[in-house]
């Protein structure tokens, strides 16, 4: 159960912080150049944070109380491979979900 004042604080600060990140350069910097090293790190933030968040969820899913689950793992690999191959988010989600439900059905 998520605590109530906590949830609202996170929502408010996440909204404010996300706006500031989006406004950072457009609003404050104007047309000045940014240091190359900063841009070089910013380029890899999403591709660092998202895998870090989900890698443990794939190996130890909460739906099975942390036990490795073959249908879920297979679905994860298919989603990633499809996304890499077709470069299309929708195709990847569809194939991943199909693999998951097919796997769960076969596993009984």
């Amino acid at each position: 159960m998520i605590e109530r004042p906590e949830l609202w604080v996170v929502i408010a600060l996440l909204a404010f912080g996300s706006f500031l990140l989006r406004f950072a350069f457009l609003g404050f910097v104007g047309n000045r150049e940014l240091p190359a090293w900063l841009l070089r790190h910013l380029r890899y933030t999403a591709v660092a944070v998202l895998p870090a968040l989900i890698a443990p969820m794939i190996l130890w899913p909460s739906g099975t109380d942390g036990a490795f689950d073959l249908p879920r793992f297979a679905a994860a690999m298919v989603t990633l491979a499809a996304g890499l191959y077709w470069r299309n988010v929708l195709v990847a989600i569809t194939l991943g979900a199909t693999t998951l439900y097919l796997g769960l059905y076969l596993a009984g």
């Binding site: 910097v29 989900i54 969820m57 794939i58 994860a76 499809a82 890499l84 988010v89 990847a92 998951l100």
Partner: protein
């Protein structure tokens, strides 16, 4: 600037963004469903989705809160996911930086993966466009995205509690994120980043308060930046 001259870029943007509705809609629904499952009321879910307007960050923070991580960790991780928005902001600035402050504030709120990617690609192609045309195009790309994002979150929140456990919704977040990550791995440097991040977070699961995610992501970002430098030196980075 008369309204007719900026109308065309607006509708051009609208049309270009229309197919992305198919990507945004299921993602918004997943957030609505997951938020209700986590015990959020409809009102809390909608305030969350409208004020933050960034699906991956919303799901990240929500997921960590649900795992009883401290609020600070949930917040920092969500913001870390959104750090790429700062990069978007930086690269939109040469094109839209001269707009009035209220417009720049509105553009900032509406900066998401789709509006950013479409706009920057179009601005590079249409170098003859002036500021009003560019601004109109940007707002055009947001126009199909925002209403679909909000309404599909609501639909997800409304049907959320009726979804049975057999639907394996615990795995909606990993699948949604993996589907986003795949197309992002455009260069070897991106690949290195994702590999280091995954390996690191698995190795750091013992670190308390879900801090392992942030530690792994920080190391991975540095690895990616370093890989880019090395590849550039060898002339392999495009």
């Amino acid at each position: 600037m008369s309204s007719t001259s900026s109308k065309t870029p607006f509708w051009l943007g609208f049309r270009d963004a229309a197919p992305f509705v198919l990507v945004v809609a299921p993602f918004a629904m997943v957030f609505g469903v997951i938020a209700t499952e986590a015990g959020l009321s409809i009102a809390e879910t909608m305030v969350f989705t409208i004020s933050v307007f960034a699906g991956a960050a919303q799901l990240t923070s929500l997921q960590l809160l649900q795992e009883n991580a401290p609020a600070v960790i949930a917040l920092v991780s969500g913001l870390a996911v959104n750090l790429r928005m700062a990069m978007y902001s930086a690269s939109l600035t040469p094109h839209l930086g001269a707009a009035p402050l209220w417009k720049r504030a509105l553009i900032s709120y509406l900066t998401v993966d789709q509006s950013y990617a479409l706009s920057v690609a179009k601005f590079d192609e249409r170098t003859d466009w002036d500021l009003p045309r560019k601004t109109a195009y940007f707002f055009g790309t947001c126009s199909p995205i925002l209403p679909v994002w909000v309404s599909m979150t609501l639909i997800g929140a409304l049907i959320g509690e009726r979804i049975p456990p057999e639907a394996a919704l615990d795995f909606a977040v990993p699948i949604a994120f993996l589907a986003i990550i795949g197309p992002m791995l455009r260069t070897p440097a991106h690949l290195v980043t994702a590999l280091v991040a995954s390996l690191g977070s698995v190795l750091f699961t013992w670190v308390p308060y879900n801090m392992g995610v942030i530690i792994a992501a920080s190391i991975a970002m540095m690895a990616g930046a370093q890989a880019e430098l090395e590849l550039t030196k060898r002339g392999l980075f495009k």
